[in-house]
Amino acid sequence: MTRMHLLVERNLMVYRHTWSLLVAEVFEPVLYLLTIGIGIGTLVGHVRGTGVAYPQYVAPALLATAAMNGAMNETTFNLFQKLKFDRVYDSILTTPMTVRDVAFGEVCWALLRGTLTTSGFLVIVTVLGLVHTPWALLALPGAAVIGFAFASAGLAVTTYLRDWQDFQLIQLVMLPMFLFATTFYPLGVYPRPVQLAVECLPLYQSIELLREPSLGHIGPGLLVAAVYLLVMGVLGLAIALPRLRRTLLA
């Protein structure tokens, strides 16, 4: 029997004290949407080759990014604090809870967080009139898959971190990915070899997973993206679990 839901329950209890963070997490992508989507969108007009208005093109990418950040913040920053400084898991593991319960519970919680942030953002995007098809609702299960992939990957990365300085390295990977994974302009801008490299990025696959349905395109490409992200999530857990055991049960 798994007790991972108890960890979700614990985090939910903490969240009752800090729910205002959710507001902030939705606030940030909204700022990006207004500045880039609408501000720069005025300068861009329609996206070449797609005939889509720029804000409508950028919004799903920002949704995917929000799901990614929401989940990954949880299993990197917050989890590192709990693991190394608050030593929350040390006391949890003196009960019948196991390391697996803890790891699965945290990932599950993180993907819920990511999905919640995305839902809030989706509501705002809809209010702004940027949603034109019911397929956009696929963003919710999509966000859960994105959340799972990045929460697990974040957990795996966190087991390698030594101190807060190392978070700079994460930034050094995340920032270029955010900038280059077709968040702000289509893949066609790049020469073919660069296109291939970009297509390998997990954020590119995440954006595809949300952008295509929101533009009304439903095709097998979605399945590729979903499978890619699910495999990434499973791999992340497979790496993280034995390493966490070694750290916590020394």
Binding site: R246, L248, L249
Partner: protein, 311 residues
């Protein structure tokens, strides 16, 4: 039933993966139901490593360990369900309130919400935290946190309570409050295992203890037995000017059964302290201060290992 063995260890070893230190180096002991059992030793003796193995959060490197007759390697979760653990550092959940801490911890044990509510009132009273129940744990004093940790460890009505250095870092008043609480638990029949490097704590709380040093057990028995076995009835402590302890000690060596020279004082192990002090004065040796006291576990430890407990 009274002799039921709850924990049995033989040839137990713990080698830490990082650095390969043999923290526990082949120890044997048995713990019987209802007793208060102590591990006495200085920092680094291997007490905490032993406790973590009993708590099933650390896998033994070699040897055999059985708790409630079960193997921690395969039945860790089942064993932990029947244990209460008070770790050396308070690991209360600082993001939650006092009541929430008790609640979520009870949930980890699979207790129903109703059962937890029932237990919480009694535990808050036991820990003298009734009026702090809704406060964030971050705002509690060290003594209160410690009491919360102990209350939390009792939520599942454990058959064995593991306490690692329960009073380290507390002020004297908080320590006495805590001893009183632990004594009450003992009266109620809870089996206690505790580690300490305070001899007074071991004497107050433990029915039986083992003296640990460098990962091994030096001896085992009740506090009284250990003192009788390894020390004289009384101890005369003489203090000389700095740097002169050894030179002065030479002149009084034959007065004592045994003599220890420490950096700041000389200990004479004797049956009658006052008589020994008179003999010292008769030799024309005048210490700065002289003190006669009963022998304690500190002396046992010094005899067994040649080192002091707290350095």
């Amino acid at each position: 039933m009274a002799d039921e063995i709850l924990v049995r260890a033989s040839g137990l070893v713990k080698v830490h993966p990082m650095g390969g230190v043999r923290a526990v180096d082949g120890i044997d002991f048995e713990l019987r139901k209802g007793e208060a059992f102590g591990f006495l030793g200085p920092n680094g003796a291997g007490k905490s490593s032993t406790m973590r193995m009993i708590g099933c959060v650390s896998t033994p490197s070699a040897g055999e360990l059985r708790i409630f007759g079960l193997d921690p390697a395969t039945d860790g979760a089942r064993i932990r369900a029947r244990l209460g653990v008070v770790p050396q550092e308070d690991t209360v959940d600082t993001e939650l309130t006092v009541r929430e801490n008790l609640y979520i911890y009870g949930r980890y044990f699979g207790l129903s919400r109703a059962r937890i509510r029932e237990r919480t009132a009694g535990l808050l009273e036991f820990a003298q935290l009734e009026d702090k129940a809704s406060e964030q744990v971050g705002a509690l004093s060290g003594g209160m946190r410690r009491r919360l940790t102990i209350a939390r460890s009792l939520i599942n009505e454990p058959e064995i309570l593991l306490l690692d250095e329960p009073t380290t870092g507390l002020d004297p008043q908080a320590r006495h409050v805590l001893w009183d609480r632990l004594f009450r638990l003992k009266q109620e029949g809870v089996t206690l295992i505790l580690t300490t490097h305070y001899m007074d704590e071991a004497e107050q709380l433990c029915d039986r203890l083992v003296v640990m040093d460098r990962g091994r057990i030096a001896d085992e028995g009740s506090p009284r037995e250990l003192i009788e076995r390894h020390s004289t009835r009384e101890v005369l402590e003489l203090r000389f000017p700095p740097g002169e302890q050894a030179i002065r000690a030479e002149k009084v060596t034959d007065i004592a059964e045994r003599l220890e020279v420490l950096p700041d004082r000389v200990l004479l192990y004797v049956e009658d302290g006052e008589a020994a002090l008179a003999a010292v004065h008769a030799r024309g040796v005048t210490p700065i201060t002289a003190l006669v006291r009963r022998a304690t576990l500190e002396d046992v430890f010094l005899t067994l290992t040649g080192r002091t407990l707290v350095d």
